[in-house]
């Protein structure tokens, strides 16, 4: 629906304030739903930049660049999204994890791989599949795929049946087995916390994209091991990276069409 003249002027006015006060978090916008946040599932605090849009968001990861023992991407993601640090494997919730090459690419791993490859820790996260089984099985459409390819969750609709967790071939989903809030180190007011009983996972930082910022893990990585961009744009960083040689995706034979590409 096209905005009426009155709505347009309101938007223009808000935008002007936003331009004039880029450093102040404009709470009023967040509550009323700023124009820039229109593509987001959550009303996010607006930033100084226009929303980033793409035909198909994708990510490339070069685990070879990672510093040994570095967990910056995980820390940044979990702080940004209020992911609890529960500290026991049973109740564990995480959006990104680090895994050995052999476990991430069991079909490609063999005993003669050089130690430099075998010893690598590979960041694993939701693959934002082109053909996501989790979306197919969800009985309430609480998880769905946006036109730009991001697979998101509606935490207010999820009934916690965990069919999506069984369906995900990558183990990318976590259940809130108990109230996560006491385990959040520092609550980020710009992102919702979850209740017990719902499933959650990486959202490709859709709330940041709506504010024109790149995903938290990509920004946090000092080694530039991760790149993010539009797969349909030949000049995007992900496309330039993919053009240079062979890249791997996790379990491509399942036909899910994962959109995280690994360069090893």
């Amino acid at each position: 629906m096209a905005p009426t003249r009155r709505e347009f002027l309101q938007m223009a006015g808000f935008s002007a304030i936003g331009l004039a006060l880029p450093v102040l978090p404009s709470l009023a916008w967040a509550r009323t739903g700023a124009p820039a946040a229109g593509v987001s599932a959550y009303p996010a605090a607006p930033g100084p930049l226009p929303a980033r849009k793409a035909k198909r968001w994708a990510m490339t990861v070069k685990p070879g660049k990672c510093r040994a023992g570095c967990t910056d991407c995980i820390t940044a993601c979990h702080l940004e999204h209020n992911v609890p640090a529960i500290g026991n494997p049973k109740d564990d919730v995480h959006w990104i994890g680090l895994q050995k090459v052999g476990h991430v690419f069991p079909a490609e791993a063999h005993p003669r791989l050089p130690d430099t490859i075998r010893g690598l820790s590979v960041p694993v996260l939701c693959n934002h599949c082109e053909n996501p089984p989790c979306v197919r099985v969800c009985p309430t459409q609480a998880t769905f795929r946006r036109p730009d390819g991001i697979v998101v969750m509606d935490y207010h609709r999820c009934i916690g049946c965990r069919f999506c967790m069984a369906a995900c071939p990558y183990g990318s989903r976590s259940m809130n087995w108990r109230d996560p809030r006491p385990f959040i180190r520092k609550i980020n007011q710009d992102f919702p916390t979850r209740t017990r009983g719902v499933v959650e996972k990486c959202n490709f930082c859709e709330e940041r994209l709506a504010r024109g910022i790149l995903p938290a893990c990509v920004v946090a990585c000092k080694e530039k091991a991760m790149a993010f961009g539009d797969l349909e744009d030949p000049c995007s960083e992900v496309r330039l990276t993919l053009d240079r040689g062979l890249s791997l995706r996790r379990r491509p034979e399942l036909g899910t069409g994962p959109q995280i590409y690994y360069i090893l």
């Binding site: 049973k90 999820c158 965990r162 087995w177 719902v198």
Partner: protein, 382 residues
């Protein structure tokens, strides 16, 4: 007719009180689960379905097996089943109610269960399972109750029940097929990704359900002055025999395909199930019990002399029930998750609270069976 469930002998009263106590204990722990979250169970990120969903899967089979009475009686006019067809239907009703309860207690946000209907998702198998289960529940309540009521009045059942009874036959197949599709339609779980899942489910259902029904009939005969008749019980026993043999055959087919092709992604699961992986062998020990019980029961059922011996038949039926309960109610669900997509070998063992809730739901089902059967026997003995 309902009032007949409310009065009975002293033994009946004690049994009902005992079941009510178990239901109350289960309910108490369910309230704790509501308060704390599903973390009160042994479930984890890796093994995200456990005892509850496994019971649901097993009980769908018990519910579906009513068709093994309805079909011979109504389609082939097999008179011997006339006396007990209603018992099968009431068992189905109780089993479906248990199924729905198990799915409900497994939900992380049961307060939002109505979202299943508010946002119908035809692409989700779970959505279809809700539809077929509730449809089956309704069909069996209506047909079972109506036929029993006509019995009481000594008139033939009204003509409109017949189409519903015929409909309930394919519907019974559908509930277990759709439930199998929950598992077999997932791309990443090699253990479940097999086209034979639905046939396997049906074969084991047609063994475990009638086996339970035989046990119930023998109990009714001993304690409640109701004799289902030698012919009915022996025919049921033959159904159990063939279904059990088919079920074992299907498992062997699975084992051959996986271990001869030697695809690791499929092999690891079955190795875990029957032998354990890297020392994680709790499930494997249970499965050893299941395998031996199934074989011994099969022998007892095949040999006519042992099958016709009531005590040995009871033993064999108990064996069939136990074996298939272990296979479906413990092994099938958990093994799909082990090893995990990232090749971890997580351990799952149900917590005390989880077991208490599970026992509570079973007690609820048994209570329903008890009350339905009490009504049935009272009407029949009049």
């Amino acid at each position: 007719m309902l009032e007949k469930a409310l009065k009975g002998s002293r033994g009946y009263g004690i049994w009902v009180a005992f079941l009510l106590l178990l239901v109350a204990v289960g309910f108490f722990f369910y309230l704790r689960q509501l308060d704390y979250g599903l973390g009160i169970t042994g479930l984890s990120r890796d093994v995200s379905w456990g005892l509850y969903i496994a019971q649901f899967t097993f009980l769908v089979g018990i519910a579906a097996s009513a068709v093994m009475l309805v079909l011979p009686y109504y389609l082939h006019d097999f008179k011997a089943f006339g006396r007990i067809t209603i018992l099968g239907e009431f068992l189905a009703v109780s089993a479906v109610i248990m199924c729905v309860t198990f799915v409900f207690v497994d939900l992380g946000r049961p307060d939002r269960a109505v979202n299943l209907l508010l946002y119908p998702s035809p692409r989700s198998v779970l959505f279809w399972d809700v539809i077929v289960l509730n449809g089956y529940l309704l069909l069996n309540i209506v047909t079972g109750w109506t036929v029993l009521e006509s019995d009481k009045k000594g008139i033939p059942p009204p003509a409109w029940v017949k189409p519903l009874i015929y409909l309930s036959i394919p519907w019974a197949v559908s509930i277990h097929t759709v439930t199998a599709f929950i598992y077999s339609g997932l791309p990443g779980r090699g253990f479940w990704l097999t086209a034979i899942m639905a046939p396997r489910f049906l074969a084991s259902a047609f063994a475990s359900g009638p086996a339970l029904l035989i046990l119930f009939c023998l109990i009714l005969k001993r304690f409640c002055r109701f004799d289902a008749g030698e012919k009915a019980i022996q025919t049921l026993a033959k159904i159990v025999t063939y279904a059990l043999a088919t079920s074992i055959f299907f498992v062997m087919v699975e084992i051959f395909t996986v271990f001869y092709s030697q695809v690791p992604g499929h092999m690891h699961h079955l190795t875990y199930l029957f032998a354990g992986l890297e020392g994680h062998n709790t499930i494997a020990r249970w499965m050893t019990v299941s395998a031996f019980t199934a074989l011994i029961s099969l022998v007892l059922l095949i040999i006519p002399r042992t099958r016709k011996n009531e005590s040995l038949l009871a033993l064999a039926c108990f064996g069939v029930f136990l074996s298939l309960w272990i296979e479906k109610g413990l092994g099938l669900v958990v093994t799909g998750f082990v090893p995990s997509p990232l090749e971890a070998i997580p351990d799952y063992s149900p917590t005390g609270a989880e077991v208490a809730i599970t026992v509570g739901v079973w007690a609820l089902g048994l209570l329903l069976v008890t009350m339905f059967y009490k009504i049935f026997v009272s009407v029949r003995n009049e």
